[in-house]
Amino acid sequence: MAVDRFPVEASHILMFARSIGDTNPIYADEEYARKTEVGAIIAPPTFVQASAQFDDEYPLRPVPGKPWFGSGKEATGLKKDPKGDGGGGGGGNGGVLHAEQHYEYHRPLRAGEVLKAVPLPPKSWEKEGRRGGKLHFTENTIEYRTLDGELVVTARGVGVRTEKVVEQK
């Protein structure tokens, strides 16, 4: 999830706010935003997740010319099920579920800023699950900084991968 350049754009914030059903004008109306305490359009609290758009290696976006694990002619474009990548930031692949997400906001994030996403070394551990066999946890922490290095948001995600399919009871 390393991203060298994550431009935080007003139109992207508008789309993101719409997608979470948030009609607060601070995310959409520049005139309104200028008169508020923060003085500009700002990003909603979970917006930095959308830095995935600027990650060239992001596995959960189809790439032209490469097989995609979603359906086309067949139910999947791959021969085998995708293996989880131990992600936590974006929920990982098919086998990885997003277990936790935590943010620390060091100051408001304003439209027009450019950030970089700097991943810290991931942590992983295992736990014996009650129903799903062994559970593999991975924790990824990403620091969102300005290009000058100022820390704006710290994001910590935990992903969990189960060894076998969890029984549906």
Binding site: H12, M15, F16, R18, S19, I20, G21, D22, N24, I26, T36, E37, V38, I42, P44, P45, T46, Q49, A50, A52, Q53, Y58, L60, R61, P62, F69, G70, S71, A75, T76, D81, G90, G91, N93, G94, L97, H98, A99, E100, Q101, H102, Y103, E104, Y105, R107, P108, R156, V165
Partner: protein, 139 residues
Amino acid sequence: MSLRASELKVGDSREVVIVDDLSRTQIVMYAGASGDYNPLHTDDKFTQEIAGYPSVFAHGMLSMGMTGRVLTDWVGDGRLTKYGVRFTKQVFPGATLTTTATVEAIRNEGGVNYADFTVVTKDQDGDPVVTGTATARLD
């Protein structure tokens, strides 16, 4: 728009229906805006035949995003200093989600007032789908 410490007390609570009859289209909107195109969220054929779930389901981050609105509408824009959740149950299309945010503490740290909240979002069966905590800076 921002909240003064004197306007809040421990135990104050807000309950908001954050989505009624969640549509597949809204999940598609979230996929497009966030960039998370995992077919588990938008592709029923893959999700049923390959992954083995009854249907597509919402990104956890969509539920976290919708839940966050209850906090930001309350404390004001740009006032959250922390927001974290666990995802405890999958959310399928058709879900109706209700968020309850509660003030757990009001404190002064280094001359700055803060409020600590717990937040829980439950589905139409009353089961929590998102549980977490948040902190906001107050005036």
